[in-house]
């Protein structure tokens, strides 16, 4: 499969790690490479490159890429919304934000446990502590990718 990954959310003003950022990207990318998936990483200059094919794109270019690729894996970032507008589904890695509010049911929204959802969903991320356990494991993501191959249109895909 041709997969877009968008691993990082915006940097926080207090310099801390954004609690939306998935903690196991390196392991996940390693697993994906084992299945010969073609992976392109999109992001901003200065972000860590997890794969060789790293691109910083305009909105227009990113739209073209999303349409060209099979699916995507991203954190709770703008990419899920852009892909949703283009009717492309993928996997969104949630941690402490509630996918019923911030996600789209057309995607596979993965999270570890609802108990990690923030009590106040609308406070700023600067006010929130990072919780590594809030995320699913790379193996669970890989399982979804492999199961979901060519099955991009399922509804009610929240999985924990």
């Amino acid at each position: 499969m041709k997969i877009i990954i968008h691993p990082f959310s915006r940097k926080l003003r207090n310099g801390k790690l954004n609690p939306k950022v998935y903690p196991h990207w390196i392991s996940l990318v390693k697993l994906l490479k084992g299945y010969d998936h073609a992976i392109v990483q999109v992001g901003e200059e200065g972000e860590e490159h997890l794969v060789d094919d790293f691109r910083t794109l305009s909105l227009k270019e990113l739209k073209r890429l999303i349409l060209e690729y099979d699916t995507f894996i991203c954190v709770d970032s703008f990419l899920q919304h852009l892909a949703w507008r283009l009717s492309k589904s993928g996997i969104v890695l949630f941690g402490q934000s509630d996918p019923k509010i911030f996600g789209h049911e057309e995607n596979i929204n993965l999270y570890s446990d609802e108990k990690y959802f923030r009590q106040y969903q609308f406070q700023t991320w600067e006010e929130c502590e990072y919780i590594k356990e809030a995320f699913v494991t790379p193996e669970e993501i890989l399982k979804c990718i492999n199961n979901n191959n060519n099955n991009n249109n399922n509804n009610n895909n929240d999985i924990c």
Binding site: F78, L82, K100, Q123
Partner: protein, 334 residues
Amino acid sequence: MKEILCSIATRGRYDTTLPLALASIINQTKLPDHIIIFDDNDEDKRIDLREKEVYRNLLLMIELKGITWQVIFGERKGPQYNHQIANTFGYKWVLRVDDDTILEPNVLQTLYNKATTEENVGAVGGCIITPWWNFSVEERNKSSNKIEDIYSTPNKQWFPIIDTEEVDHLHCSFLYRAGVCDYNLQLSPKGFREETLFTYEFIKRGYKNFIIPCKTWHLKASEGGIRGVNDEEMYIYDEEIFRKNIDCGKLCVLNNGIGDHLVFESILPELINKYKKLTLAVCYPDVFEDYNIPLISIADAEKITNIDRYNIYKFMADRNWKNSLQEAYKTLYL
């Protein structure tokens, strides 16, 4: 019916621009019949104009030119109260003049000619030029006095006017048909947008408003002024009244991330369907490049409204929102 009343509302400008404004009225090629100076100064700061040499001379010149005059002490309820008194004073036309403006000598003659030779004129104004403002040609080209453009384009009267043009509303100083429309007395003492509301009322009643080539200088004196009350709450309050009274379209403010813009974009077709005019204040204009919708910056939106009211996260937090972000946008805007 008496023909032309000139009204000037003033506060805190006895020793700066008020004498200049009066002198420019005296030097008009067509003179008003009567001048009312609405003195909105605090009681302890009021003076009898005749006690000052400059006014003694100016008032004498006014009398020598056959114009009657009077001073009415205002109640500091805002310019709209003073203007409403002038509006109902029994004259056919009222020339309203700001206390920091200087009219070129032909202004009243030019405005009056237009008002009396065209049928159904509600109000007519010239350009209002601030000497130290430096607008670009681009801004001038996109300027408008259409009510639906009020949030997105500069006012045409801020630039030299070359041709007479029919407009929706007028600004600052102009000549209007008295006793037809009322000033909105619900506005705060700041009277924000009082002249826009007033002059657009003529359009609603089937009259025509014009801008016409003639020039008034607007000095925008740094001190004093009839709207001198500096209260953000009043500004917001007046803006609310303005929006309720005038169908200037829907303003949506996206002071948030690009993802939030994209979710908002999903409801845009419904918004376009519902509102004949939309203006979007955005951080990421690229998201809307395929739409023919006026976009303004967040900084510009802050000048016209309290953008906090459009904060989608605050909106959801206040309602303990459990539904989707898209539904929140629909509830806020549709």
